[in-house]
């Protein structure tokens, strides 16, 4: 299938949110998506973007139609003081109806190329261990499971705990 990859633009935020929600539904966590189109616009297209995004689109049904947005990847740059810059893949999704056509591989190839061009020494991401199709997709391509192999555990402070921790302790 013919498809095109391009950098996301402000007009794409509604498609990005739609795809984020579709992926969350697939992981059975749709209710956890609290992000809005306004957040995506401010956070991705303001003066200091918190994320970058590439979009995969296929031609519309008729030649006069707008192309259909069928996949995306959201990423940003992180840092490991041992080995330097990393490209962090936050979200990566291709719509069900467009799977198995090389779009996912194409997105990953584009991002790996970008990682090398920006002098990143690695590309990092998290996958849920029960999402075996995805785990195998990445392992086939040479990704290492650091949680399994080195014992890394991902921890989080949510908003309430963050506020508690930010309050200085009584001396």
């Amino acid at each position: 299938m013919e498809y095109k990859l391009r950098k996301a633009e402000p007009k794409d935020v509604s498609d990005i949110l739609r795809l984020v929600k579709e992926l969350a539904k697939y992981e059975e966590m749709e209710s956890q998506v609290t992000l809005t189109e306004k957040d995506l616009l401010e956070d991705g297209f303001g003066e200091t973007p918190f994320y970058h995004c590439i979009i995969a689109e296929t031609p519309g049904e008729n030649s006069s139609d707008e192309p259909d947005v069928v996949g995306f990847a959201m990423y940003y740059f992180t840092y490991d003081p041992w080995v330097g810059k990393q490209l962090y893949l936050e979200e990566f999704y291709v719509m069900d109806k467009c799977r198995g056509l090389g779009i996912g591989s194409g997105i990953l190839r584009h991002l790996s190329d970008l990682a090398m061009k920006t002098r990143c020494t690695g590309m990092m991401f998290v996958v849920a261990e029960n999402n075996q199709p995805s785990v195998q997709f990445y392992k086939r391509r040479g990704a290492e499971d650091l949680s399994q192999e080195e014992g890394w555990r991902l921890f989080r402070f949510d908003k309430d705990s963050l506020v508690k921790m930010a309050t200085p302790a009584e001396e």
Binding site: M123, V135, E144, G151, K159, A166
Partner: protein, 164 residues
């Protein structure tokens, strides 16, 4: 013990590199020059805070910079702005005095000020004292709770993936 926390500047890279080398066991660690380039140029890839003690409490080698945290801003496609704490370290002889907690509190404050909804970080499961410390501060283990595994593609695998 009296201590202060402030934003790291380019002159702190020497002490940060020193503490990274002491705290890690891997052979290759970023040099001071890499930290300067990557943290203090026009487009920084990380930010730092440093904990200092007054001269009278300096170490026998004469160091007053005795702890640090490295962090950067990240993004959750579900919850929006987030802050990631990459490193948190206090020299052994200065532990148990609230300095680690104060460094983490500062990272939390900076995150909230920037509109972040989460603070994320990783810990090695064999580092029981750190795991216990973090859990006592109110965080939760996502790897355990949701089954998220941290994955990395590097070196030859990354180059191979980038091939057309």
């Amino acid at each position: 013990m009296d201590f202060s926390i402030r934003a790291a500047n380019v002159e702190d890279c020497k002490d940060i590199a020193r503490m990274i080398r002491v705290s890690k066991t891997r052979a290759h660690v970023r040099t001071e020059r890499h930290l300067e380039q990557d943290g203090f140029s026009k487009n920084p890839f990380f930010h730092g805070i440093v904990a200092e003690v007054p001269e009278q409490h300096r170490t026998k080698e004469g160091h007053t910079k005795i702890g640090y945290a490295l962090y950067f801003y990240s993004y959750s496609s579900w919850a929006g702005r987030a802050i990631y704490m990459e490193d948190l370290y206090v020299m052994p002889e200065f532990r148990g005095k609230g300095i680690g907690k104060a460094l983490m509190s500062k990272v939390a404050q900076l995150g909230l000020a920037a509109g972040c909804n989460q603070l994320n970080f990783t810990v090695l499961d064999c580092n029981k004292s750190s795991v216990d410390f973090y859990l006592s501060q109110g965080c939760f283990d996502i790897t355990d709770k949701i089954g998220y595994h941290c994955m990395r593609c590097e070196g030859e695998a990354l180059e191979h993936l980038a091939q057309p």
